[in-house]
């Protein structure tokens, strides 16, 4: 399945401490004409590969700022241009929920969306609008959005971004999040900083490992209470259950599976690559999705696997569920994709210092 990280708007009603898109860019919104072109391209792409599916992830900015009419238009355009292929388009959405209403949910149902991805942070001043990041009013609206989702039987999951502000209270944060979503259903991700750390929130890979390590004994002991907490669940699935359920950054297969399309039609490898303007695959106004998906630059991600397997990662026991990590991590440090992730040492540290001793399992 191909994944389109689809960012029809960069506008956002929040000023999250770890996101600099709104600050760095002059936020744009995709026109209806361009939206129509996207659906034409999707149809063409799917017709060219009869067994293929596309996951279209609505991202932002805050996609609900587009308004209900925009999603209505998307439904109409999909009907118009993807009549024969629409059953092979799986829509998904990432939203901060603060603008959620029943009309949106009705439209999402029409697009086949039955769960929504979001983000949350209980720490004051991390997420919220304005310079002050008014998290009180923000969180209140977030919970109203959640209530609507649950009332209408939408599933939801979320990402928690670990920043310097999180480091003092790992277990408190873990309990808060698992109390809010009882079985888990969230991912603890390290904050990613590209360029200047304006807010002084960056953490080292070791700090991230220790943050996870402070939580892991409790999670492991009571994993039946909150089974869906990642990355712990993924580690267990990979190491103990021998499944290969890794995130996009660890698959080693992102080369031809992902594309980012921004509000002006600009195409890149993924959301991060697009936000940080690291890789350009041109513009959907000038190139077809078929061409973009075959862009020659993608070969470097395939080559990277060979380079790492025979170089930095040679003999590494965790290659199968890491593949050197996200190529963009390499870019941050070396300005090329030929190196393993800078988070590698942190992952190893977590496994050696916490995972193996606590579980008693050796890889």
């Amino acid at each position: 399945m191909a994944t389109i990280i689809f960012k029809p708007t960069e506008k956002c009603n929040s000023n999250c401490i770890y996101c600099d898109v709104v600050v760095r860019k002059k936020p744009k919104t995709m026109s209806y004409e361009l939206l129509e072109l996207i659906f034409k391209n999707i149809d063409e792409y799917l017709k060219s590969i009869p067994q293929e599916r596309i996951q279209l992830i609505w991202h932002g900015g805050e996609p609900l700022l587009l308004g209900e009419e925009y999603f209505q238009k998307a439904i109409e355009l999909q009907e118009k241009h993807c009549r024969d292929t629409k059953h092979r388009i799986d829509h998904a959405i990432q939203s901060n929920l603060t603008l959620m209403n029943e009309k949106f949910l009705g439209l999402f149902r029409q697009l086949g969306i039955n769960q929504v991805g979001t983000s949350f942070d209980p720490i004051a001043g991390v997420r919220g609008p304005g310079a002050e990041r008014d998290s009180v009013s923000y969180n209140s609206r977030f919970f109203k959005g959640l209530n609507l989702l649950e009332k209408h039987n939408f599933g939801w999951g979320f990402i928690y971004v670990v920043t310097k502000k999180s480091l003092a209270r790992p277990l408190d944060i873990f309990y808060y999040l698992t109390n809010m979503k009882l079985s888990g259903g969230f991912m603890l991700n390290p904050v990613l900083i590209y360029g200047e750390d304006r807010e002084n929130i960056g953490i080292t890979t070791e700090e991230y490992a220790d943050f996870l390590g402070a939580i892991f004994p409790e999670w492991w002991k009571h994993r039946n209470r909150f089974p869906q907490v990642n990355p712990f669940k993924m580690f267990v699935e990979n190491i103990i259950e021998k499944k290969k359920t890794v995130g996009c950054e660890d698959t080693g297969r992102c080369a031809y599976g992902h594309v980012y399309i921004g509000p002006s039609g600009e195409a890149s490898q993924c959301g991060r690559a697009g936000d940080w303007e690291i890789i350009s695959y041109g513009n959907i106004n000038e190139r077809s999705l078929i061409d973009i998906m075959k862009d020659k630059q993608r070969e470097q991600f395939i080559e990277r696997n060979d380079i790492l397997m025979n170089g930095e990662c040679k003999g590494c026991p965790w290659w199968e569920f890491c593949h050197g990590g996200c190529p963009l991590d390499s870019y941050i440090k070396y300005k090329d994709f030929k190196h393993r992730t800078n988070r590698c040492e942190g992952k190893k540290l977590f496994l050696e210092k916490y995972f193996f001793p606590i579980t008693g399992i050796r890889f």
């Binding site: 209980p122 209140s140 919970f143 808060y176 109390n179």
Partner: protein
């Protein structure tokens, strides 16, 4: 039939307006239990139970043959003379009854231990005064770990048996305080979330017609999501490992009478143990088939 169970006083006029409802009927006294039950049933209602709130002792309760088959909850102030109670034991054991004693009296903890050991279903009602968390822990340990057969004890049994990691376990249900299940109504058809709210005049709606549309009622919706205020205010309880079975019920006394967090952590361990042993029991049953 509506989704909610209505908790109402015994009032013939009100009962005649309530048809095909699931009811918890509060009887004004013990003597009227059969009359209350049969009157409510005659109005085509399903009676979940008849409740009697009494400040007197359990020993003074006039348990009667005519109560047989009637689901009854008795809230009493204390146990009273043990001998009196024991004399009625054979009859009490034949009744479909659950006895609640209040935590305000220290000796009620021991009394509940005794009542449970006599195979009578019982429960602790949390009162206004601070109580000893250790004593509560002892009671819970007996209720959930006790190997010798005994009557179930609430709210421990409710939490252990209803616990579901996917959902909040609201033990307020034991006391008819859970807006997902119960609504309270008085003879004038004022509707409230709890008995306390009803007594204080904190109504969310008035009239049976409004009950029909209760899901659209803003105050009702707020009550359903009231627990989220703990999270919005970053209340200590939102960070508690045992939130899911407590839901901040002791937040007002946590500074004055700490100990809830440890107690509920132990209760959750006991719940894990309880569920594991229930699972084993089921496994054994299958094997013996």
């Amino acid at each position: 039939m509506r989704e909610h169970i209505l908790v109402c006083p015994f009032d013939e006029s009100l009962l005649s307006r309530l048809h095909d409802e699931s009811l918890v009927v509060i009887a004004p006294n013990f003597e009227q239990i059969p009359h209350v039950y049969h009157t409510a049933m005659q109005r085509s209602n399903r009676v979940i139970c008849v409740v009697v709130y009494s400040k007197g002792s359990l020993a003074a309760v006039p348990f009667h043959e005519s109560w047989k088959g009637i689901p009854i909850a008795i809230y009493a102030g204390e146990m009273g003379p043990f001998k009196e109670f024991m004399m009625r034991l054979p009859l009490i054991r034949d009744l479909n009854i659950r006895i609640f004693l209040n935590s305000d009296k220290k000796e009620n903890f021991t009394a509940l231990h005794i009542i449970s050991s006599l195979h009578i279903n019982c429960g602790l009602e949390f009162g206004e005064s601070d109580f000893d968390w250790e004593a509560l822990n002892d009671l819970m340990t007996y209720a959930l770990y006790g190997k010798v057969h005994h009557g179930v004890m609430e709210p421990f049994q409710f939490i252990a048996s209803r616990y579901n990691p996917e959902r909040l376990t609201d033990f307020g249900t034991v006391y008819f305080n859970n807006p997902n299940i119960y609504l309270h109504i008085d003879k004038d058809e004022n509707i409230a979330i709890s008995r306390k709210d009803l007594q204080k005049g904190n109504f969310i709606a008035k009239g049976l017609n409004e009950l029909n549309d209760i899901k659209k009622n803003k105050k009702f919706e707020e009550a359903l999501h009231e627990w989220q205020n703990f999270f919005l205010q970053n209340n200590t309880c939102a960070f508690c490992p045992s939130w899911r079975v407590c839901m901040g019920k002791f937040t007002d006394t946590i500074e004055r009478n700490p100990g809830c967090q440890k107690f509920f952590a132990d209760l959750m361990e006991a719940t894990d143990h309880f569920l594991a042993s229930e699972h084993k029991k089921r496994e054994r049953e299958v094997w013996q088939l």
